[in-house]
Symmetry: C2
């Protein structure tokens, strides 16, 4: 019976595809960059109005950032509640010069939609809205209660999300949660994950003279760019080992079931090398070891470096300031605040207490069982829509506030979404394939229908 009704739902989705694309374009055309705050409030308002029109009860929760968290509930038939976690903020679009079309002017080329946020994460918001519209049209009402939690600071380490979860814990009950995004791999299989790394994002600031000086003063005036280089070189060495004392203390080895799941995960090393232009992976890792490195090991990454003259040609300047941005991707059971303290102590111990360490973001690693009810329903629905079994990842290499939903609230969680292997999230020319968007909407519709009918375990 589900099957026949689903066919009707899918027809409605096909019929309305162009208006779904239109809605996504409207969302993408509204910049919403959490790093600068640009447009986040306008975006939240635009999104809230769309949800209200669908009958949602929408509330905005203010946070310490400019971006409110949207909590929207649509009561449906029966007792079951499905949560959707998403975010309406996007990464900054730089470097602008590398975009083939302007990032906030979405455009379809060769069956793909280009623009900042088409994949991460506005396309997924629209897919879930479009799925719910189609299901509601066919069923007359939603077969379950739908709860949207949509924040506006995910790309800036979700400042304020933890506070929202603590404050609204009682209202946020759900039987399962579909996480923000997912990707179709090059074999056409949907990748879904049941855990996310944590993150610690810091800025190191070294200071020298009060202003930039002529570089001939490099004889006797301390140079903050050198101080920063020397400090950074104590944090990680050319063997890729993080040298902060105690950094690896709380790292849990992957469990046997995680290893078994990883063994099933396809990972085309040659394809990834071709895609990125890289000749060899770090530590020369390969096979299962490469997958363990990628999904279960913490990192220390320089995200940005800036000091002195950065234009074309030469300028002889002794910089007054040098800044590095670093992120540490953390795995169970590392704690971002503990790692932050260890980093500060490490720098002090190595003679760099003059370097300021700013905490820009912190997120715990989070993990949900790979065999929960929602995970099994979402996997079955994926197999039906994509006509191939999904790839189930026990963890992903990315970070997000997964911990708060999966571990703090205790809502079983699995990810799914409309991206593909070359969606260029966080990079210039971010894009989705229209056909993935269509399938992603159908997948969400199938999840709503099938989760409504499945027994609460």
């Amino acid at each position: 019976m589900v099957s026949l009704t689903l066919q009707k739902v899918f027809s409605v989705i096909d019929r309305d595809l162009n208006s779904s694309i239109k809605l996504l374009k409207d969302f993408v055309a509204q910049p919403s960059v959490c790093a600068t705050g640009e447009g986040v409030r306008d975006m939240a308002h635009m999104l809230g109005e769309v949800l209200k029109e669908l009958g949602f009860n929408v509330s905005y929760h203010e946070t310490p950032t400019k971006a409110p968290i949207i909590h929207a509930v649509l009561k449906g038939k029966g007792e079951k509640t499905l949560m959707f976690y998403n975010h309406y903020d996007v990464q900054p679009p730089d470097p602008l010069s590398e975009w083939e079309s302007p990032p906030f002017e979405p455009v379809v080329r060769d069956g793909k939609l280009f623009g900042r946020g088409v994949n991460d994460n506005k396309g997924n918001i629209v897919a879930r809205i479009a799925a719910l519209k189609a299901v509601t049209e066919v069923f007359g009402e939603s077969p379950l209660t739908v709860r949207f939690v949509i924040e506006g600071d995910e790309e800036c380490s979700s400042r304020g999300f933890s506070g929202f979860i603590d404050e609204c814990r009682e209202e946020l009950r759900a039987d399962g949660c579909i996480w923000e995004s997912g990707y179709v791999d090059k074999d056409g299989r949907l990748q879904m994950y049941a855990g996310m790394k944590g993150i610690l994002y810091v800025e190191l600031v070294a200071r020298g003279a009060e202003r930039d000086l002529h570089s001939s003063m490099g004889t006797i005036i301390p140079n903050p760019a050198w101080r920063l280089v020397w400090a950074l070189s104590t944090i990680k060495g050319p063997d890729e080992k993080v040298l902060i004392e105690g950094f690896y203390d709380d790292v849990a080895d992957p469990a046997p079931e995680d290893i078994r799941a990883l063994e099933e995960v396809p990972f085309d090393e040659e394809f990834l090398k071709d895609l990125t232009g890289v000749k060899e992976f770090t530590k020369k890792a390969t096979g299962l070891q490469l997958k363990i490195e990628h999904f279960f090991k913490p990192t220390a990454t320089i995200d940005g470096l800036v000091s002195g003259y950065i234009g074309e040609g030469s300028k002889t300047v002794l910089p007054s300031r040098a800044v590095a941005k670093l992120d540490f991707r953390l795995v169970p059971n590392q704690d971002p605040h503990d790692i932050f303290e260890k980093l500060r102590q490490h720098l002090a111990r190595h003679g760099f207490s003059d370097i300021e360490v700013k905490l820009l973001g912190a997120e715990h690693p989070g993990k949900s069982p790979i065999n929960s009810e929602i995970a099994e329903v979402a996997a079955k629905a994926a197999e039906r829509v994509y006509e191939k079994p999904p790839v189930l990842l026990p963890m992903t290499a990315g970070s997000g506030p997964f911990y708060h939903v999966a571990n703090k609230l205790g809502v079983p969680t699995i990810s799914a979404g409309i991206g593909y292997y070359d969606s260029k999230a966080h990079a210039p020319n971010e894009n989705i394939r229209i056909e993935d968007f269509r399938k992603g909407i159908k997948h969400m519709a199938a999840v709503i229908c099938m989760f409504a009918e499945s027994r609460v375990s």
Copy 2:
């Protein structure tokens, strides 16, 4: 007799001071940034036209850069020839936000003229022109032949100047040369120097993936920012010692007469600390040792660093590229091309042959006797105008094509100019004091008159 005539010349200089300031403002309002090429040709043309109006025979020598070298000769009475070396290019004005008034909109505030190039080096060009105009008005003609050599690439390591000197060696005869600039110290004494360091300016470029990636890929994809940090940390250590094999091989110890001259050089350490906001000099140097470090030791300075995200807040990006700009200030008898080769070999030896090393500028160190005829005349003239003995430096910490004039052409050379200790050359809010400008013009007029009358030794 010189004395009485000089008084007349000085009166003319006072009378015309405002029109001299006007000419300088016109020059400063014309950007001429060699690093980008912006405005250099327009500046060369404007300057050439001013010299032609004064009766100079002006020729433009093309170089591999956009900026031609101006060679301008005004025949005078007698056999003697005085050369002026200057440059019409300026440093880039960034960081723009730190300027209190726009860099290319010169303005007088509190007896000071602000703008990019007012000191380095356009103010000195105008001072020499104004001096010559006044002398010519009083004498009816110039008492000696004046030869201007004004290049447009000094801030970019004078690319093309060496070729010009080689090509025009026969035409460039002179009995003495006044070098581009000089500064009044806080005691009101003119600082003059008889030598300059050389320079090697390089750019190091590390490359990773073909484009910026999501920083979660930091697990397995090489990060060029880390490669650059590790490579840089092999070039100089926290003890400030340059670690390039053979770097110090050709460094000449200062001669006894250089040490004697240095002992006479005032160097107010507390004042310099206050001015720069620095608590301690590198290597904790002080006294004569500090002066030797500053004037007679080579450096390795990071002038610029850039990689990945450099904006406000956080962006989780694995950079595809990391760039460092470095300059090495060289002392007799280091050779910039030899040091460049040693740097390349050093990086290869330490496993960093993947990092590209671009040569952006190279200049030999140069030195002239501190007791040449022109040096003695210029010192006497300074004592007369400034009413205090000048400070004679055997070397300066800065670099320039001094070598080509003083050593290749063999023209005895000494510097003099209109700046002061807080002129902020190469930095935001570059400025001169109007009273220094007035005295600098008078000093140049006195040099012209006194050098014309002194015997060729």
